[in-house]
Symmetry: C2
Subunit: 478 residues, 2 copies
């Protein structure tokens, strides 16, 4: 290891410890806390209580003695104990005053939820500059303003101000999200809950006057609960620092990014949205490759890639077997494999002969293997065992079990799962249909086999696993 990488590693480790307080604070003060419905600090406090946070909580509001049964303090300065983090969700004009109090109280971290800064023009920019100066002078690290803050499924902490009944909470899992956009972060959490995708931590930093992706990446890189990092960005906080942090992270775990603000219309929109100077897209594109980041185009590809990477390992090569009982779906998958640089080679004569011996004469023993509408669960086992376990002709499988025919039952899930586990190779599932199919989809995903509702998304997800392999090779041996 070279000197510079030792230095970089110790820097990032220090930074990682500082960042943890935003996700897992030992104590938190909620400025403006109230039981009044509709108030942001009130909803945040309620959400922190509901999620089961185990640290100390200090409501701060001169109007009350208690809030939700907790002792309430007139100001930050009146709290008798040390405080790790403040959550500030009060009108923009009052934030500076609170931050100055926080400086005197020596609280090192603030999540500023409040909007009404840079995104509203000149006056807002000036207010932001003042906040930055106070933070700099007093060693306060700030997440925000104009953000949702954090959500942590392991530390049981959240600063979300969205009511429960509107946004589902995803289960605990392997994916952590960094997002410049709050709405995007919320939508991803909600989709993750719907898709059965497990989430570790989320941070949304909005106007990003201090902490951004370059600070947060090293923390997630070292975080053992995070196995995949997912980033939404309109712009980057510090170009070189980000590339360095991302390269280090990519050596350990995949980073999936959605960069928006690409064309003229999108760049203008990003500027209006978070004041981001989106910059030349081509530069981002090159930087992502250099840092081993898997770039995606659009919300669905982003979620699909994250799901595949959190459930399956990359294949060692690009030789794909397609198995289906819906011939047309096999054809669509084959088309999209070609479009995505995946190879769909025919089985060898020996393998073909072996399969022929196990199947009805009208099954199509090529690639795709078409088990036809007469397929039963066990035919999937036979095909996958012969091609993926007992033979080494393929690197990955795309399995498309359509559940409409009578021969197909829920047993197919265990048969496919056990056979693919025995093969040690990745598989991606596509199945399309109504309520019975939905039930089967959930069973597959319980076994970490990611399911997609179209052959083209299934192929794209597999191509992202392969991309991870190639980008990892690239950052390990640049």
């Amino acid at each position: 290891m070279s000197k510079s990488s030792v230095k970089s590693d110790s820097c990032t480790l220090f930074s990682a410890i500082i960042m943890e307080t935003f996700f897992n604070p030992s104590s938190v003060a909620i400025v403006g806390a109230t039981e009044k419905s509709g108030s942001l600090p009130g909803i945040i406090l309620k959400n922190i209580l509901d999620i089961g946070y185990r640290g100390r909580i200090y409501p701060v509001n001169p109007k009350y003695k208690t809030v939700f049964g907790l002792p309430c303090f007139p100001s930050l300065l009146d709290i008798p104990d040390e405080v790790a983090l403040t959550v500030i969700a009060i009108p923009a004009q009052s934030v500076l005053n609170v931050l100055e109090q926080q400086a005197r109280k020596k609280i090192g971290h603030a999540i500023i939820i409040s909007a009404g800064f840079r995104e509203t023009g000149k006056e807002g920019i000036e207010m932001e500059e003042k906040l930055k100066q106070v933070a700099l002078d007093n060693h306060i690290r700030i997440l925000g303003p104009n953000c949702l803050g954090t959500m942590d499924n392991y530390a049981h902490f959240t600063t979300s101000f969205l009511p429960h009944e509107r946004v589902s909470k995803p289960k605990k899992g392997a994916v952590s999200i960094l997002s410049q956009s709050g709405a995007f972060a919320v939508a991803v959490l909600d989709l993750a809950a719907q898709e059965g995708l497990g989430i570790a931590r989320m941070a949304n930093y909005g106007n990003r006057i201090d902490v951004g992706e370059s600070d947060l990446l090293p923390f997630l890189s070292d975080d053992e609960n995070t196995r995949v990092v997912a980033i939404y960005m309109e712009s980057v906080d510090h170009g070189l620092k980000f590339i360095e942090a991302a390269t280090a992270c990519s050596r350990k775990k995949p980073i999936v990014a959605l960069k928006v603000g690409k064309g003229a219309a999108g760049i203008a929109a990003a500027k209006s949205h978070t004041g981001a100077i989106a910059g030349k897209y081509e530069i981002y594109k090159a930087a992502f490759i250099k840092a081993g980041i898997i770039e995606t185009n659009g919300l669905e590809e982003f979620i699909d890639g994250v799901k595949a990477l959190s459930m399956q390992n990359p294949p060692r090569g690009n030789k794909v077997l397609i198995v289906t009982n819906g011939g047309g779906f096999g054809v669509i998958a084959a088309d999209h494999c070609t479009e995505n640089g995946l190879d769909v080679p025919l089985p060898s004569p020996q393998l073909k002969e072996k399969l022929r011996g196990s199947f009805s004469g009208y099954y199509v023993v090529n690639n795709p293997i078409d088990l036809t509408g007469s397929a039963s669960d066990n035919d999937y086992h036979i095909a996958l065992r012969a091609c993926m376990v007992e033979s080494d002709e393929y690197d990955a499988a795309i399995v498309i079990p359509l559940m409409a025919p009578q021969g197909m039952t829920e047993r197919v899930v265990d048969l496919i799962s056990e056979t693919m586990t025995a093969s040690g190779k990745p598989a991606i599932i596509c199945t399309v249909g109504g309520s019975f199919t939905t039930k089967v989809k959930l069973l597959f995903e319980d076994r970490n086999l990611p399911v997609y509702p179209s052959p083209e998304r299934c192929v794209k997800a597999l191509s992202m696993l392969l991309k991870r392999k190639r980008l990892k090779d690239h950052v390990m041996h640049p």
Copy 2:
């Protein structure tokens, strides 16, 4: 009108009448009908009874006197009345014999469900050739073999052999489907049911030894219940006849096509699947444009395009307004507009000033209009009324109401629907989220506003509406 087009119109009219019998027969004989579970003719008979078919039904089976309470006949020749259509779902080896009986009984239409023909090799091809000869000699029109046949939501007729509990039946509606693949047709029906997309008729012709898309298109073209035609094809039955029929149809209603078997892997897969010679994709591509067909890439784009075209009219131009309360989603939509040739122009200074007067200072009055997390339902009404009704600066709207913030309620559906109706311009909706969002999505689609779960699919759907406009202009004024 030129002479040749008069001739073509009368030909297609004649063909259309012949084709109707496959969807709406006055009477039907089910060969091999039985009450035994698992038997295809038995399930088909049960499905015909369940769907509420109102024509005469003749079970045919020498083993029974009655089947499901209906008098059963030993053979087709024993039926005392005229019969319009036979449904043949017995082993391949016995089909020829039945078709010869049908010839003697002078039944002019047969749907042959049975598999085990061309797709299984030389012997199967020979059997098909014999069927073709009998059909030709006796003026019998055949749909199939190796197919699901038809489903008609207006005539209440089906030849599906899939059990109800596995495949949902879509509601009656404006879309008719032609599909070479049975599994694809089933999946589309199931997805349509899930998406709230109304279906008129479906035909699947499998090995297509006689009737194919060129015969069926003129029927759907003249069918007043069909407003959008959706075609899945691996190959085409008769190139020139198809282009002529499609061009005539495109003058009246949109055709959306999914052509599969494009690259080497897909072409090989299509050949194994339905014996289709997929041919050079570039030729198809050119032919589709010539015939005004909207080509799509993959299952989802196909369904998405069909949904948009069945619910909204094409815009007159490509100037798009984006309105959202989730800034990041607006940026993604703007990016994808640029990718898809849609223009996202800023509002004029006058329009901007007007909007400024109605909104909070921190709402972003550009394009996208970002109503921020503070948006309420009525803000959508204000933005759309000013930009789409009272101004003529935009041709279409992409509306992205995220339902997580408290200011958003179900009322937003009627506000957007009424405003867009008043504008006379098309709108496409994107909303992303869990169960509350799903409820709102269904309300939008009840009002014929198509909803997509990502900004990129929303933009793509709008671009397909615009493509319809351009292709229609092209076939009307070639």
